[in-house]
């Protein structure tokens, strides 16, 4: 147990007392103020690690959890996990601060909100620090669950429920696929620790295994669903039903980056192969294009941001894919050139969190102040909300990739990486490589357009929207603090990129490619001006074309009308969901007939198949008569009499005959007990049988005449076959049980009953002394049955009285 463990667990522990704080103080103090200190403390604590980590150190702390299964809560801290943790705690603190002003303390169920939020924070911290793949998986699913709860926070809204269900279905599907992939990974390498998988010995075992590709695809499914990559991206726009602080936190800054984290974390294992390169890069690029093109046609501000998040995540993903090519080249200079892409990915990841968090918060402010997020109703807010407007410009221009904001730097690096990838000589890139920069460039134009829409459609133009209840004005200062801090970061990173890179980005880069980091250092000089490079020309092209297309958007906007509605992924999702529901209902109704006999048939058939199957496969059948005593004439007679009475029950037409026959059967059994040297049993059986027969006869008076079983032949035949099967199986079991004796009987112990319990009747001593509590429970069962019988009879009368009273 180390302090880092405590840190990961703190949010969970604190979440348990949040409801009490809410109950006690909510009248006076917003619950968020209590919660606010948790991420702040975590952030401050994490800051203390920066000197060590940027000096190249890593930490490994192990807390044994399930030692017998080799599952430890192992925490591994390197640059990559640290930068993620800083984002989680940092953005978390800002989001909580923002939510204090966004969520009304009088109207909202704040205790739920903050419990879910803290649960998510802890899960996310655990996710990025876990070294054990199964612990990582547990935290992974916990983030899915808390995301589900937070999307459905306003659970009385139909859309919230729909969005929550969708995100849950998709991310949990991916999570399960990932679990299968992780298990394969563990099978291949014989360890659960990611660190240990990276040892050259294990790495070789993994890459040479036939499971390599299936494991890779399954794990990527998990990463892609979580990070909303095409075609799993459809859940993210619907997740926007969550309160805006949540959208800013989970669905743009942290949770959706878990997939990115996983891909980055596993790059040293899978990277350097053609499949990894093409899948990650390809999916990333398609997502980038799909997201940016779709963002342009959104009219809801949050939906626009959701699609833009999808597209930016695709950008980061594709960078990770391109950078993985570096591992193909070993440790030469060439690999350092391509590894720049990984650096760009981390850089853009941080930048995206800052500017997108800022944008979400500003959109939340607009929603909060005007009551709408619809672009068709908004406009002309510039003079009313000048500070929000400034923040929106900073965030939006950074997203568009304009200087002097951090987005410009990482966008330039992105172009560099695509150009380098296009020139790679491996994985068929010579033929297809040129596609990468082209897609990147086109997508960037659309990114530029939607950034402009976001900023200018909302704030410029005529002030069309008039709120009914109160005039629109600037948000309270508290609400502006968080986006303000993020906006300052956006600008600060642009002006001091190298300082930032030294302490945060390079250590993270070393975390992604540890082997490469050992071989040498990545020298990247970040600056806004590199001369007239191709990247700059690409950016200029984006800006020029983007401005033109934005100005003439009406001219070409019509092409979106040709977008086939019937073929969208959402339609497919809804269609398959509905059909699956119908199908499962049909299938269930098929075998859940409500007819008790059918269920019994399943049970008996199952017994026959399973027990018979075991006998068959393990050859358990034994037959041994040597222990048997001779059968004397009494026994033979009893057996015959028993069979006769049992068969009589089977075939009798009248109730009386069958009841008498069953009574006879019971008495014959008690005779058997006499022969088997069991006097107590015989006595009990006699008494019980008498009472049972009397009971049968009593009920006989009330129950209807036995009808002849009118059934079709197949019905009877099935019954006959199953019952013969059961009979045979039980006979076989009985014979085998008798013929096999694995242990000596333990009954000899009870033969000391006189010394131990002072009783001469061993059976009685067992019942009332050795196993006294069992007998007590038996009496309890009898009592309950007696009560049941009594109430069933009494109930009838009560009901009848009531009915009569009602009439």
């Amino acid at each position: 147990m180390s302090w880092i463990h405590v840190m990961v667990l703190t949010p969970f522990i604190f979440a348990t007392i949040v409801p009490y704080l809410y109950k006690k103080f909510n009248q006076k103090i917003h619950t968020g103020w209590f919660v606010f200190f948790i991420p702040v403390f975590i952030f401050a604590y994490l800051i203390t690690f920066i000197p060590e980590i940027s000096g190249g150190n890593t930490f490994m702390k192990i807390l044994p959890w399930l030692p017998s299964y080799n599952i430890d809560f192992a925490i591994y801290m390197d640059g990559l996990s640290l930068i993620f943790a800083l984002l989680i705690a940092g953005i978390g603190a800002l989001v909580v601060l923002y939510s204090i002003y966004y969520m009304s303390k009088d109207r909202e169920a704040l205790h739920n909100f903050y419990v879910y939020l803290l649960m998510f924070m802890g899960a996310m911290l655990g996710l990025v620090f876990s070294d054990n793949i199964f612990v990582l998986y547990v935290f992974w699913e916990m983030t899915s669950v808390s995301s589900f709860l937070l999307i459905a926070y306003w659970y009385e809204r139909e859309k919230s429920k729909y969005g929550a269900q969708k995100s849950m279905l998709i991310t949990v599907f991916g999570g399960l696929a990932m679990l299968a992939g992780l298990i394969m990974l563990a099978m291949m390498s014989d360890t659960y620790s990611i660190r240990e998988m990276l040892t050259s010995h294990n790495l070789e075992a993994i890459t040479s295994n036939t499971l390599f590709l299936p494991a890779m695809i399954l794990i990527l499914l998990g990463a892609f669903t979580k990070s909303a990559q095409f075609p799993f991206s459809i859940w993210l726009p619907d997740a926007m039903e969550a309160p805006t602080p949540i959208s800013a936190y989970l669905h743009s800054a942290t949770m959706v980056k878990a997939g990115i984290y996983l891909v980055a974390r596993l790059t040293p294992i899978f990277g350097g192969t053609g499949e990894w390169f093409w899948i990650v890069t390809g999916v990333g690029l398609v997502t980038l294009l799909y997201g940016s093109v779709n963002a342009v046609r959104q009219t809801d501000l949050k939906a626009l941001l959701a699609y833009s998040t999808i597209s930016q995540l695709g950008l980061i993903m594709s960078l990770l894919g391109m950078g993985s090519g570096a591992l193909y080249f070993g440790y030469g200079d060439e690999s350092f050139i391509y590894a720049t892409a990984i650096f760009a990915a981390i850089f853009h990841l941080v930048n995206h969190s800052t500017f997108k968090g800022c944008l979400f918060m500003v959109v939340g402010i607009i929603d909060h102040e005007t009551g709408t997020r619809d672009l068709r109703k908004l406009g002309g807010l510039m003079h009313l909300m000048p500070i929000s407007f400034t923040l929106m410009i900073i965030g939006g221009f950074s997203m568009a990739g304009l200087p002097p904001f951090n987005g410009f730097l990482s966008k330039e690096l992105f172009f560099t990486a695509t150009l380098q990838a296009a020139n790679m000589s491996i994985f068929n890139l010579a033929n297809l490589g040129f596609v990468i920069p082209v897609i990147a460039w086109v997508a960037s134009i659309f990114t530029f357009i939607y950034s402009m829409i976001l900023v200018f459609k909302t704030f410029r133009g005529k002030h069309r929207f008039v709120r009914v209840d109160k005039p629109v004005h600037e948000a309270p200062f508290g609400m502006l603090i968080s986006p303000l801090i993020l906006a300052i970061l956006v600008v600060a990173i642009f002006f001091f990129p190298n300082l930032f890179s030294k302490y945060f980005l390079l250590p993270a880069w070393e975390g992604v490619l540890p082997s490469l980091a050992q071989a040498g250092e990545l020298s990247i000089k970040l600056s806004p001006w590199h001369g007239w490079t191709p990247e700059l020309i690409m950016t200029l092209g984006v800006v020029g074309l983007g401005i033109l297309m934005y100005l003439y958007i009406r001219k070409w906007y019509r092409i979106y009308n040709y977008y086939p509605q019937a073929l969208t992924l959402n339609t497919i999702y809804n269609f398959s969901l509905e059909n699956m529901e119908v199908l499962s209902k049909k299938a269930t109704n098929k075998y859940m007939t409500g007819f008790i006999r059918d269920y019994l048939v399943y049970i008996f058939a199952f017994i026959v198949v399973i027990v018979g199957g075991v006998f068959w496969t393990f050859g358990g059948f034994t037959f041994d008569v040597s222990q048997d005593a001779d059968i004397n004439i009494y026994e033979a007679g009893l057996v015959i009499a028993m069979i006769i009475s049992a068969v009589t029950v089977l075939f009798s037409k009248s109730r009386l005959t069958s009841i008498l026959a069953i009574g006879a059967l019971g008495f014959l059994v008690s005779f058997f007990f006499v022969l088997f040297r069991a006097p107590d049993l015989a006595l009990t059986q006699l008494v019980v049988e008498t009472v049972t027969t009397v009971l049968f006869l009593l009920c006989f008076y009330h129950l209807p005449e036995l009808r002849k079983e009118i059934g079709k032949i197949p019905f009877k035949m099935t019954n006959a076959i199953i019952s013969i099967g059961v009979g045979v199986i039980i006979t076989v079991v009985a014979l085998s049980a008798k013929g096999t004796r694995l242990f000596d009987s333990i009954s000899s112990y009870y033969e000391n009953s006189y010394e131990l319990a002072g009783a001469k009747n061993i059976v009685n001593a067992i019942l009332v002394d050795f196993r006294g509590i069992d007998t007590m429970l038996e009496i309890l069962v009898l009592t309950m049955a007696g009560l049941g019988v009594y109430t069933l009879i009494k109930l009838r009368m009560a009901r009848r009285d009531k009915n009569e009273g009602a009439e």
Partner: protein
């Protein structure tokens, strides 16, 4: 003996699979007897005297299955009684003892 047990099970199963409630009860009762005989058969038949210390025996019959059975018999009685009253109730309330007609409704 084992064959008798098997036969009892067979008849009991067949009766349980029929549609009449009374037959089903009879079936469970028969299976109950089958189980009792099965357990005592497993303990080994007829070796030594009855497990009473007063009688001077060298060996005693296995006392453990007997103790088990004593419990089983009584519980069997309790369930049969409850079952009987339950089916009687079902008949008086619903007016049928045919399980085919006792099906629940959809989405009940």
């Amino acid at each position: 003996m084992c064959i008798v047990v098997g036969l009892l099970f067979m008849i009991g199963t067949y009766l349980i699979l029929t549609k009449t409630l009374l037959r089903i009860i009879l079936g469970t009762s028969i299976i109950g007897h089958g189980v009792n005989l099965l357990i005592i058969t497993m303990g080994g038949l007829k070796k030594g005297g009855p497990p009473l210390l007063g009688i001077e025996n060298v060996t005693y019959a296995d006392s453990l299955p007997q103790a088990l059975l004593l419990t089983a018999i009584v519980i069997n009685f309790a369930t049969t009684a409850l079952f009987l009253v339950l089916s009687y109730r079902a008949y008086t309330v619903l007016g049928t003892d045919d399980t085919e007609q006792l099906r629940g409704k959809e989405d009940e």
